[in-house]
Symmetry: C2
Amino acid sequence: MLKVKNTISTFILNKNLPFICTMKGPNSYYISEYRLPINEYFIFGLSVDCVIFGYQEGEIKVLLVQRSLDPFKGQWALIGDLVEPEQNLSDAANNVLEKLTGLKEIYMKQFFTFGSVDRHPLDRVVTVGYYSLVNSICYNPIASSWAKSAGWFNIKDLPELAFDHYDILLKGIETLKNEVRHKPTGFNLLPSKFTLLELQLLYEALLGYKFDKSNFRKKILEMKILKPLNETKKNVSHRPAKLFEFDVERYKVLEVEGFSFQL
Amino acid sequence: MLKVKNTISTFILNKNLPFICTMKGPNSYYISEYRLPINEYFIFGLSVDCVIFGYQEGEIKVLLVQRSLDPFKGQWALIGDLVEPEQNLSDAANNVLEKLTGLKEIYMKQFFTFGSVDRHPLDRVVTVGYYSLVNSICYNPIASSWAKSAGWFNIKDLPELAFDHYDILLKGIETLKNEVRHKPTGFNLLPSKFTLLELQLLYEALLGYKFDKSNFRKKILEMKILKPLNETKKNVSHRPAKLFEFDVERYKVLEVEGFSFQL
DNA sequence: TCAAAAGTGTTCCGAATACACCCATGC
DNA sequence: GCATGGGTGTATTCGGAACACTTTTGA
């Protein structure tokens, strides 16, 4: 008799009894070595999928990959991967991002878990959706073994996507739009030094409406969460704009004091 | 040779080769009948946990159960259950709620998925957190086979909880507080007919600060999402208050027109 | 000198705040 | 009558919207 310990169950293999394992029973999460017909055994696949947002030329973009394997071979999809047995969900998501882009320590947020029985054509796979915000200017996609190619797509002009990735993407966009109005996380889409107009244009792209220049400046500067730098934009054919940095420390202090970001 | 189809993998049992299954390989989600050492095989447990919110005597309460089984036997915990192989996540959550309370078609919201490797002492169990808002006045807890007893606890005075349920609960409360300011879902905690003061007191309990009576009324009535009824409170030793109902249809229309609830 | 964007100032309006006051009911 | 909560009115303040204007740079 051969005993196998895995992460949720204990299996016993035996020539006579095909399968005995701990599993969910009628009265308990765990019944020790409950015998069951082999075809009643079930497991789930667990994966993470990442919506990677970027900002280029005034447009919000998302990074997609072309699948190199079935199912949906050749189609565009979000990048994702199965979660390892000893891996936390956020680590799995970070790994996916790093493998594809080479970027570490990027802002990431879990936004929803998708688990429809039929969302995967082959099996039951539950996937946890994360989105990340990258300053895509300093990013060079790495040819991954999973995918033929990767590319940035304007969120207003998306190709057909594999699985239920379109739904995942929509939910991610919705959550991002909501988050960005109440938390200063949208800044992650800009380079660390930016001008006020750049910030304004970013927010206009994110939220889908225009701000008055004067009022936007007034409001954001009054928050005192931007650190003015002694630098300006170079080589522009007009008055060069001052550069600013997001002041994380200051924001943390203000947050504790009860300040809440709002745009 | 015995072939077993389950939800994510195909297993082949064989006297010589202990285990062959499809699983994640270096280049793909799915490699057919990839041979691997038996102890490298892994699966996850997937569950849902429900934070059931109620409102009684001006306090926000949460429904907890006392575990009747190990691990954490005897300790208070959120109510939850493993997800069935052919069951959607939201259905699993609704079933859990119905089994415990007998209530159907209750407002529910998925708020976060908890998947730390060590969150469960026995195995790897990933759990999807849902919260529901019930009008607890018309609720009578059903003795469940899982739990010795159930009880409502003020969210400001919680017992020690099993697993990471305290973290789950905190995240649920945080998400609820945030949601309730931007969507009129908090109404689900009240009976269908309520007075303006009852609504105000609910919001004060939810958000943790006071409103000015006059201003609160003005604001909520100007939204035109409450339907005034030709009824009043009975048997009160003061001027009886008018009863109102939340006007779902009206809200839907306003929402499409761009109205956004804000308190 | 002109184009283009940076950056400032000012008026106007509506919404939020604070607070005062009257109303209906049971005891 | 009076305690209690229901319900209304109003003056003041504050922040946002709209818009006009000046400044600084490169070409």
